[in-house]
Symmetry: D2
Subunit: 87 residues, 4 copies
């Protein structure tokens, strides 16, 4: 009987701990979703101000790269474009 | 000449505005990345506490659904599993 | 001058080889796209025959797993659902 | 009793039909996987021949676009890069 109680308690604790972990994840996912919506709003604002948001997204992607590395990549792409006659 | 100055000023403003927009996006993306790392840490903590994180991820996904809708979906999957002889 | 010719020829060959590689990739990507469309059509046909395609997609995903592994995963999810009082 | 037989037959047909649909999807998914592996192999071959596969992947992506549209996009990105002082 003592065993039963111990097991029951352990299970109860685990359930509470599981619930606490899941709620932490859910709060963080909620925050992440809010930020994603904020980013969308910034792009909507840019668009309303006449910016080409597709090009801005490319710029944001390019700025994440190291400058030297980016220049090297762009030079290689230009080389291949020239080889293939792409203007 | 007055036109030149106006254009120049307009361009300068646009560049500053573009930079401001991009920096807002970058700060938000940074926040989002931090949250993604926090979520990973919560799962790592769960794992260290003996939870099956793959199953927990399924639970988190299931909890996003409306209960009635989820039960209906599960009943349909069980029906198809039975039809196919999947235990 | 011999060097120039050699280099030129080497470059020409490289361009031809590059183009050949790219065209092979493009043909394969075209095939892949056709298959993706075929899969969509099979699901459309299922739907027209009264099947719940969302549930079928789950079944297709489940069938990829080893049976013992799948049963273990499902048992763990059921355990967590019970602990959280999810019916 | 006639109803029972009818229902049973209908169910059997449905199970057979469900299985047939699922097997069609699985065969198509298998084909798709094979093609994905073929694409990886072409890139591995390119790499073994000294090509920069990251740049080739960019070229493949660019070739999917209409030339005029691509040139316009690139011009806009260059404009923004200049505005931000990115070389």
């Amino acid at each position: 009987m003592a065993d039963d109680i111990t097991t029951e308690t352990a299970d109860t604790v685990a359930a509470g701990q599981l619930r606490a972990f899941i709620e932490r994840v859910e709060r963080l996912e909620e925050d992440k979703k809010t930020i994603s919506e904020d980013i969308k709003e910034v792009y909507a604002e840019m668009k309303a101000n006449g910016f080409d948001t597709k090009a801005v997204r490319s710029i944001v992607r390019l700025r994440k790269k190291d400058q030297a590395e980016r220049q090297e990549e762009e030079a290689m792409i230009d080389l291949y474009k020239a080889a293939l006659g792409m203007e």
